[in-house]
Amino acid sequence: MSEAMGMLLAAEPDLPTIDDFLPRGILFQGTPFEINRIILIRIVATVLLLVVLGITAKRAKLIPGRWQGVVEMGIDFVRDSVVYQIMGEVRGKRYLPMISTLFFTIFVFNLCGIIPGMNMAATATVVMPLVFAVWVLIQYWITAVREKGLWGYIRDECFPKGVPWPVYILLAPIQLCELVLIRPASLTIRLFANMVSGHLLVATTLAFAQYWVIESANKLAGIPVGMLWFLFGLVLTLFEAFVAFLQAYVFAILSTVYISMSYPED
């Protein structure tokens, strides 16, 4: 197999590796402020987010223009379809800024994965999703302590009513683990893994397209095959745009659900 490929291929296609997610430092190497490619993308994305949304908010008018309409659609979406739908207006109002921050930031950071030149989601290191997830963790614990008291929350979650007591032996540790570990871990890994796999998929298809069209010795077979890979890459890029939105939406909606579960049922 490798011999056959070796004969056919002039060089190996430049496939993405997990090293893409662990780039070398560019600035301040060795300090806690080391900046590598992904950090740089993250900083640029943040600046873009702040400038674009900042200018939009600064120029916001009573009668919205097209762009303001788009931004307002995003705000309305987070407010009506995420927060108010899950926890209602009375409870939800207080968490609107938080969930909006999460949604907009994650969406823009995810989109960096398909922006030419960046080609890497700003959420594609484990810490960025983790930081968001920890924020959510802290928030739903604070909410729980405020609404139910610390013990009330742990009792409701780990020792639910109507369960025979021996089950608690099994249930309580699992539930506690869920509250402190599984929720933030699932938020983190879901987002991070989606961004990693998205990058690997798109980069792989485009690497093959590049390889077959340009570097392959056999142009007759290379160009059609390469075009097919390119088409595949195009479709996957569009799919990644969808995933960027979807993951931001999922993160926002799960965060809201977790916070909402800290309230007593009524």
Binding site: L15, T17, I39, I43, L62, L96, M98, S100, L130
Partner: protein, 176 residues
């Protein structure tokens, strides 16, 4: 796949210090931006818009109420005016018939007066004429009879009684 083996995949999940630092810095910046500027700004816009729409609806309702009020007042005035007009018309009609009746009765009484006066003057003139005629007719008849009869009527007594009888007859015929 030689390339994938170069780095252990688990390395992806081990947080780097600089990554934590930058992620936190960025989270704080973004959160402050959304909490302090972006959301308040848009909430203000949304509230203002809602207030404006509500204000316009209220204004439109007030305007409609005013218009309804004005219409109602106008219609009330119109119906009052109609009633008044018909009353005035009725009054005028009554007055007119009154005036006509007055005028007629006055004219009738005037006419009766005039007729009566005429009657009276005719009667008095007739009376006078009769009186003077009586005198003249007597004398005339006597003279005429004397001339015609002359000799035949010697006695004056007969003569005078004849005359008296004649006048009496004339009187009675006159009175009829």
């Amino acid at each position: 796949m030689v390339t994938l083996a170069e780095t252990d995949g688990i390395a992806l999940f081990i947080p780097k210090t600089y990554d934590i630092v930058w992620s936190l810095i960025i989270l704080v910046i973004v959160a402050v931006f959304f909490y302090k500027f972006f959301m308040p700004k848009f909430n203000a816009i949304f509230d203002e818009r809602a207030a404006k729409i509500e204000g316009n609806i209220a204004k439109a309702e007030a305007a409609k109420k005013d218009a309804d009020e004005a219409k109602r007042k106008y219609e009330a005035q119109l119906s009052t005016a109609r009633v008044e007009a018909s009353k005035i018309r009725d009054d005028a009609r009554a007055e007119a018939s009154h005036i006509i009746a007055d005028a007629r009765s006055r004219a009738e009484s005037d006419a009766a007066q005039i007729t009566a006066n005429a009657q009276r003057s005719i009667e008095s003139q007739q009376q006078q004429a009769m009186v003077s005629l009586k005198g003249e007719v007597g004398a005339l008849a006597t003279a005429l009879a004397g001339k015609i009869l002359g000799a035949k009527l010697e006695s004056d007594d007969v003569q005078s009684s004849m005359i008296d009888k004649m006048i009496d007859e004339l009187d009675t015929s006159d009175k009829k």
